[in-house]
Assembly symmetry: C2
């Protein structure tokens, strides 16, 4: 029979796939972000498809700065079974709202920085290259009209 899909992944494969180190992977497991992962007879970890799936979400939530502690809580809900789905939704929604607010703040800051840049560019265009090269000065190869 043709394997329905590779159903076990090695730590190395997972690490590469999610761009995490083996250490981080083990750390996540210890921290309760993943269940106690299966083992090969050798003792090496074997990740299943649903570990991969959860890791996907974990990665996503970590990337958006959900703290480990909160992620662990979420992972516990997942382990408790489908009846916790409403709670999970609440967690995700609340995270999403925080994230929205965060993105909006970033956008505002970004704009403010843009204004500062514009201000500087204004200063430069008013007195373009003032007192530049005090003589045969340094060898600093300044770009023309940067």
């Amino acid at each position: 029979m043709l394997s329905p899909m590779k159903d076990y992944f090695t730590p190395g494969e997972i690490a590469e796939r999610f761009d995490l180190t083996l250490d981080t992977l083990r750390y996540y497991e210890k921290a309760g972000l993943l269940r106690r992962v299966d083992r090969a007879p050798s003792g090496h970890r074997r990740y299943r498809a649903d570990d991969v799936e959860l890791l996907h979400l974990v990665r996503c939530l970590r990337d958006t700065d959900m703290p480990i502690s909160r992620l662990r809580e979420f992972a516990e809900l997942v382990r408790e079974g489908d009846h916790t789905i409403p709670e999970r939704v609440e967690v995700l929604q609340s995270h999403q709202h925080r994230l929205n607010a965060h993105i909006e703040r970033m956008r505002e800051r970004q704009e403010a920085i843009g204004h500062k840049i514009d201000y500087y560019l204004g200063v430069l265009s008013e007195r373009p290259e003032p007192a530049r090269r005090p003589e045969g000065s340094m060898d600093t190869p300044v770009k023309e009209t940067g």
Copy 2:
């Protein structure tokens, strides 16, 4: 003569204005994000308008995760005088690009989380409230059709 504008601010005022602690303010100074601030005869710090101005930018850049070390470099450029404005512009622009990329990634993650939420909601609507309230159960006041 009418004071042109309050030209000194106490640590407390600054801390409140920027929502920073006195400790953080001092830390920033030690770290070179601010010049060595003026003192009252008592030894207490007295912040000038241009400290405030710089702090404004510092706050903005810290809020967008510019590391302290980079901020110190920027602050040094500011101290070196107007001839460093082109360099400052480069620093800000490069930060802005990183920030744009960051925002974009956040947006993507946000969307992914949204999809997960939708998936969960889908599951819920297929089997709506299975085995909910095993009888006269807990008093959890679950919102109807959340």
